[in-house]
Symmetry: C2
Subunit: 244 residues, 2 copies
Amino acid sequence: MNLVLLEPDELQADGTAILTGRRARHVREVLQTNPGNEIRMGVVDGPLGTATVVAAGQELHLRCALSNVVPPIPRVDVLLALPRPKTMNRLWPVLASLGVGRILVSNAWKTERCYFDTHVLAPAHVRAALLVGLEQARDTRLPRVSVHRRFRKLIEDELAEAGPYALRLVAHPGEKTLPFERLAALPRASRVLLAVGPEGGWIPSEMELLAKHGFDAVSWGPRPLRTDTACVALLGAIGAALNA
Amino acid sequence: MNLVLLEPDELQADGTAILTGRRARHVREVLQTNPGNEIRMGVVDGPLGTATVVAAGQELHLRCALSNVVPPIPRVDVLLALPRPKTMNRLWPVLASLGVGRILVSNAWKTERCYFDTHVLAPAHVRAALLVGLEQARDTRLPRVSVHRRFRKLIEDELAEAGPYALRLVAHPGEKTLPFERLAALPRASRVLLAVGPEGGWIPSEMELLAKHGFDAVSWGPRPLRTDTACVALLGAIGAALNA
């Protein structure tokens, strides 16, 4: 935890906050702070800042000093064919730590329908897992998560609401590698969407629909990777190019 | 499993092989092959090829047809400060699937000494975990793993044996981003070494020693990432640049 994140309603009007549970325990036992010490804090979808520890017992009393600046929304969104629950669970904090604006969880031909009925998509569960990633990455911008059970409807209709995107990429085995120069040359305000398919990949009709809606197929290389590895490796490459 | 990997001594002189256990079960139950079907196979550190299923009972009988070409050794090596065992365990197959020539597991100031005494470094365990990654990525080149309990000795003496490297990079928070153009312009035969530190990072004296031995500090971006995420994100970016 590189940052203690407060929910907006935990911050009192006078700039103080009282925490209990996991976060209080972390500050007390891992950071081993004493009254008077400063810690990094932030407000979910709000500014970063510092907090002075006023009391560090069972209840953690903080006096917060917030910056005026709210971190920008990350420039990359992910469209992810829902992987198996164990993988999805592991990906939530990882995606939040890498920084994504939106996570569009999608159906795909090779996605098991029953995955959609598991607890990994329960909003409270997702939110808690994403917060862990933000605490790691010192960010306050909670990725917006939406679940789309109809792939065609997502691509044809619902995606318009999420964009606009300067670049739509779909991970797919092939010759075309990541367009580094195009990524590095994008204006600072422009956004990128990366679509990552299920284990076994997108089927031809899905690739056709994606191509028709402006997605360029890109491949990390000739090695077939697991969904979660492909996701992090490609977000790693895209992020590095955008930061370059 | 995108590839059934044989140990060299499992391949008989007449090109046949008999498998049992995990691999036989996978071919029987997941691939659902019948006699006469072809599957992708390879020999550890040897060529790729195909195998015709001769019998698919408890024992899987294969007739193998190997290519003359052995896949090249991946161009990237990783020097990794040993993370906590759970993380290291998860990383073995991921690193093998991304493709690394060597994994140099190192001590560092912020690495817990007791991690070195756990089963995650036991050679048989490591080998089995790496093979899972190769089966995923359709590669036969088993990463060579070495364990270095003395960081200074590794950097000053032992690293010379592992190289030579056209580029030595160390992941470290800061302004310098990945040198994409340099990576993309490297000659095809040249190799790259990426050093990834422990949770909490390298300490200044470690960074000085690394700098003295030709390591350039590079950062994925301003977000602090977990070791395993940083590893995959940076290998993703480096691999994509080398493949570009």
